[in-house]
Amino acid sequence: MSELTAPNETETRHVVLVIDDSNDVHRLLQARLKQEQLQLEAATDGAEGIERVIELMPSLVLLDLDMPTMDGFEVLRHLKESSVTHDIPVVVLSGLQSPADKVTAFDLGAVDYITKPFDLMELRVRLRSALRMADLVTMLAQRAHIDGLTGLYNRAAFDQRWQQVTSENDRHGKPLCVGVFDLDHFKSINDTYGHPAGDEALRVFGALIQRECRSCDIACRFGGEEFVLIMPETVPEDADVVCNRIREKLAELEWPAHPERSVTVSVGVAGSAGRSDVSPEAWIEAADQALYRAKKGGRNRVVIEALPSGDGSALKQAG
């Protein structure tokens, strides 16, 4: 799941990596930042620093400039050139005080520059400020993948995950299913009870699908009243069980805004018990076809479309 696992939990202690050739500086920072709720990690030269940044993926790097062998400018350049470490904020902590050094550090991508010997209060507030900014950037990046109404992953996040998941299916041949959920007669709920009732139905169903799916599944709002559930390593028979459970739970719900009317969902599932040669787009199209049949068949039901697995290539062309 990598970057998409935890959309709202960032309450853990920040990891801050200090790259400085002086053990004195490491000890001083440990003592000075004791109350800051940080997990301080240490590297004592540039090369080790780069290795540890990749290993730890810290919230922030505190970087000395004046180091033997590989100096801080080179470390900074390296971190900013790599797509893996590019977004990690770097605060320079240096004895070099000339404006030229500061300009170079900022040009290379440093977010702040603290001079040694550091003033305790200044160090603390500058670190807090840099971490606050880093948290905001992370939150914005996550928001870009989150649907505002339901809190589920949005269409953009789905597209990204679906490409990854189908390419894994293609590589490893593990089972995979995808379910497309469409709330039945949603327009009529909106028209009869108003848009707040419609939004409530979407919100409640978003929470329900998230709660009732398994931890390995990925629930997304596809748009409008349509939701998608990616079910990795799942054969069609098991996907049927998961989707029917969600469908039944929804049908059982009582709605304070319209107690006389229940809300139901139709589901189309496309799945394969092994490697499927179907393209990512054709896979969704097959699920849409199954959804269409579920609607035609009277709604409030799950229809499964088992895709050919193994070397079948019939649908590949269709994508």
């Binding site: 050739d21 500086v25 033997p68 004895g95 010997p117």
Partner: protein, 111 residues
């Protein structure tokens, strides 16, 4: 800072963090280890070991300020700067004055 440059001043040099309980232990440790650092500086100087002398003075420059001994840090910085300005084939003996100043200052340091 001005005090440490004064020729006549031979009094003790105390850490500007000497009243900070969080720092006390660290400052004590630094002060206890300082004679060892001075000995290393002298050894490197006596054996004309320019690389070690540069490294030691650089580290002392960085550390001293952090422990509240800005004057020592500045003196170590002058040794390092002179070393870096020294032509490649020159003897470190020409740094005698800067090094003596640094050593004298280190000997006056206390918690």
């Amino acid at each position: 800072m001005a005090r440490t440059f004064s020729q006549g001043d031979r009094g003790p040099i105390r850490s500007s963090f000497s009243d900070d309980p969080d720092m006390l232990e660290l400052v004590q440790e630094f002060v206890e280890n300082l004679p060892g650092r001075v000995a290393q500086l002298k050894t490197a100087y006596d054996s004309n070991d320019r690389v070690s002398l540069t490294r030691l003075s650089h580290q002392l420059k960085g550390a001293s300020g952090g422990y509240g001994f800005d004057g020592v840090g500045a003196a170590a910085g002058r040794v390092e700067a002179s070393l870096l300005a020294l032509p490649a084939d020159s003897d470190v003996a020409s740094l005698k004055r800067e090094l003596n100043e640094l050593v004298a200052m280190c000997q006056r340091v206390c918690v």
